[in-house]
């Protein structure tokens, strides 16, 4: 089991930016007003963004599985 990373589902993301404001590592950005994008190098897998997300589109996954839900 690898490190945990935040993995937003970009199809259901509403791009509100709540996660961006809550991330303690400034690892999330809203890509061109379309969806949340996580910098996996900065993400420490704390899960704060997951708890804050009003649309529940962020899941915490093992490092190797990042972007699986991003099809």
């Amino acid at each position: 089991m690898g490190k945990r990373k935040a993995n937003p589902n970009k199809n259901n993301c509403v791009a509100c930016g709540v996660c961006v404001g809550q991330c303690p590592r400034e690892a999330i950005s809203i890509y061109k007003g379309c969806y949340a994008l996580v910098d996996t190098l900065k993400c420490i897998g704390c899960g704060i963004c997951q708890k804050a997300c009003p649309a529940d589109v962020i899941s915490m996954v093992d490092e190797g599985e990042v972007s699986c839900g991003n099809s």
């Binding site: 509403v14 509100c16 930016g17 404001g21 400034e26 007003g33 379309c34 804050a52 009003p54 589109v57």
Partner: protein
């Protein structure tokens, strides 16, 4: 590991503006016009900047829900039903909202054209009439200006009340997941991103 120290910006206090807006409209309905800023600014950011910087950083309403829901613990912080952030509901709510906005503009036009008279009341949830006559007793502007104020204030108050209800029941900013302005600006950004 220490967390990144975050700088506080002036625009993180815009939740105060949200409270101020409704307070001012309680005394003079013409202040309702300032709410147009919350309509126009997000669109400017989306159309010209291709981003949702307004939603992400400046939305006073979203910030107010956060302050009340998270800081003052007025939210259950439970997941909202999935359909609430689904595309059909978001675009459906946007359509409904724009229809109601159009109706409000038409009512303003009726007063402008002299086909109807100024109604000094606000309408909550598009249904309940609440007397609001103390907020207007004539001004240098024609009556339709005040009529728009009453209509727009009704719209702003109704949507904030809906937002407060879902804030209490679900997550702090559940409103953001189906906010008509948010849906509209994200739609614009997606369109812009496609052509780029």
């Amino acid at each position: 590991m220490a967390t990144v120290k975050k700088q506080k910006h002036w625009y993180q206090y815009l939740w105060i503006w949200s409270i101020l807006y409704f307070s001012l409209g309680f005394f003079n309905i013409l202040f309702a016009w300032f709410g147009m800023l919350d309509f126009i600014l997000p669109l400017i950011f989306a159309i010209f900047g291709g981003n949702k910087w307004f939603c992400n950083n400046m939305c006073g309403r979203g910030q107010l829900f956060w302050v009340l829901g998270r800081n003052l613990k007025c939210s259950r912080q439970k997941s909202a039903p999935k359909w609430m952030s689904s595309k059909w509901f978001r675009y459906g709510f946007l359509t409904f909202f724009m229809t109601m906005f159009g109706t409000m503009v038409f009512q303003t036009y009726q007063v402008f054209a002299g086909a109807d008279t100024l109604k000094k009341a606000i309408k909550l949830f598009w249904t309940f009439r609440v007397p609001w006559q103390w907020t207007y007793s004539g001004s240098v502007f024609p009556d339709w200006v005040a009529q728009f104020g009453y209509g727009f204030y009704s719209l702003m108050l109704t949507s904030t009340l809906i937002g407060l209800i879902v804030m209490v029941l679900y997550k702090e900013r559940t409103w953001c997941s189906f906010c008509p302005m948010g849906t509209m600006t994200q739609g614009i950004c997606k369109l812009k991103n496609k052509e780029a």
